[in-house]
């Protein structure tokens, strides 16, 4: 929020999250090394490390990709999303170790500089089993670097959340490149069905989760409501909105959240100023709309963050007639105060 940037906004939850993450990663590397040394005792240390960090990065990438759609499908996964950026940076670092070691093992100590050798030594684009898969890995690593390097809130502010998000959707290109990197690389030589089976299962899981979450969201995005003569659109009944919660509806090309609190109703843009999280899925805490992703807050009547913070979101006019909620779909500039609609106990309202 708008006071000084910290390197990391540490909290007890983030420390626990990172501790578990570090422990799982260390545990995986140890187990993988042990299993490999038992099954393939002739393996060299470099190859072992390349495979250990490569498979670790692949597993972490699947975990990172699963969190988004899982959190859409079931809110209980939201805590995993809260600190997902640490998971992503860790995955990039594991991939970097893998890439650096592999570049050294296959391209160092030759005539050409290692990176030049990596780019130029295989140009068999016409073959699948001989495809230049290492370059695919390098391309994916560059995308993951850009994402890790811009994971701080400073970049969310400088790029703005929508541009930042578009950049970070590059993870899907990186994922495709990495699946190809493994399928056309290690899988061409690996005889055991374990790697192929695991990669196949991973692709099915990630694709399946995204398609399921997408299908669920499509219904809400597609709904169209007609405006009445006064320009207001009927949203729902007052009693359909729980106290301290919101009803979300698509108006004016984007979702709007109508919050009910202390006998009043206010409507604001569903899009959080921080990372475009779904404000309507949050709740009222200490009199403020609280984003379920990272806890950013806004006063419901004005869409402005409480001092000393300065984030603001657009607001909308709300009316209650015969205990039905009506919203004017024409948004007001971010931070514009709007008198809340009052919900009286017995029908009607202002």
């Amino acid at each position: 929020m708008s006071h000084g940037y910290q390197a990391v906004g540490w909290s007890p939850f983030k420390k626990r999250y990172d501790l578990v993450l570090g422990g799982l990663l260390a545990g995986y590397l140890a187990l993988f090394s042990l299993a490999t040394l038992l099954l393939r005792p002739e393996i060299t240390a470099e190859t072992l490390l390349i495979r250990a960090f490569g498979t670790a990065a692949l597993l972490l990438l699947h975990a990172v990709l699963a969190i988004g759609p899982l959190a859409r499908l079931d809110g209980r996964f939201l805590p995993l999303l809260y600190n997902r950026r640490h998971l992503g940076v860790t995955m990039f670092l594991a991939a970097l170790v893998h890439g650096a070691l592999a570049t050294f093992q296959f391209h160092a100590l030759g005539d050409a500089p290692p990176l030049v050798s990596l780019l130029a030594s295989n140009t068999r684009l016409d073959s699948l089993s001989q495809f230049p898969f290492q370059q695919l890995g390098l391309a994916a690593l560059l995308i993951l670097f850009l994402m890790a390097a811009t994971s701080h809130d400073f970049w969310l502010a400088q790029l703005t959340a929508p541009v930042w998000k578009a950049l970070h959707m590059g993870v899907y290109l990186a994922y495709a490149l990495i699946v190809a990197h493994v399928a056309l690389g290690a899988l061409q030589d690996e005889r055991s069905p374990l790697l192929a089976g695991a990669l196949g299962a991973g692709v099915v899981a990630i694709a399946g989760l995204h398609l399921a979450a997408g299908r669920r969201e499509a219904a809400l995005d597609r709904e169209r409501r007609a405006a009445g003569a006064d320009g207001f659109v009927e949203v729902c009944g007052v009693d359909e909105i729980a106290e301290g919660r919101a009803r979300v509806v698509t108006l004016g090309g984007e979702r709007v959240a109508v919050f009910r609190y202390e006998g009043r109703l206010s409507a604001l843009s569903n899009v959080c100023r921080h990372q475009n999280g779904p404000l309507g899925e949050g709740r009222i805490v200490d009199g403020c709309v609280t984003c379920p992703w990272h806890g950013y807050q806004y006063l419901p009547a004005s869409g402005a963050s409480p001092p000393p913070f300065s984030e603001r979101v657009p607001t909308f006019r709300v009316r209650v007639v015969d205990r039905r909620v009506f919203v004017d779909p024409r948004p007001l500039p971010a931070g514009t105060p709007v008198a809340p609609a009052v919900v009286s106990e017995s029908g009607g309202g202002g």
Partner: protein, 64 residues
């Protein structure tokens, strides 16, 4: 997430899901009968391989 990004996600995965499946199937089908080269030359040597080049037909071409 913005509505536009949600739409983009749906399109991306409608295209990516079959593409990745096809890629995996094609990659598995393209596997040569033997490894094209040991990934770990030093280990292959220790394991007793005299010749690092595979014998028979070039990699990628299946024996009739």
């Amino acid at each position: 997430m913005l509505a536009a990004h949600r739409r983009a996600h749906r399109w991306i995965w409608l295209l990516l899901a079959p593409a990745l499946a096809a890629l995996l199937v094609a990659a598995l089908a393209a596997r040569p009968e033997w490894p094209r080269r040991p990934l770990d030359p030093a280990a292959a040597e220790r394991a007793g391989a005299d010749d690092l080049e595979p014998e028979g037909a070039p990699p990628g071409e299946r024996a009739p």
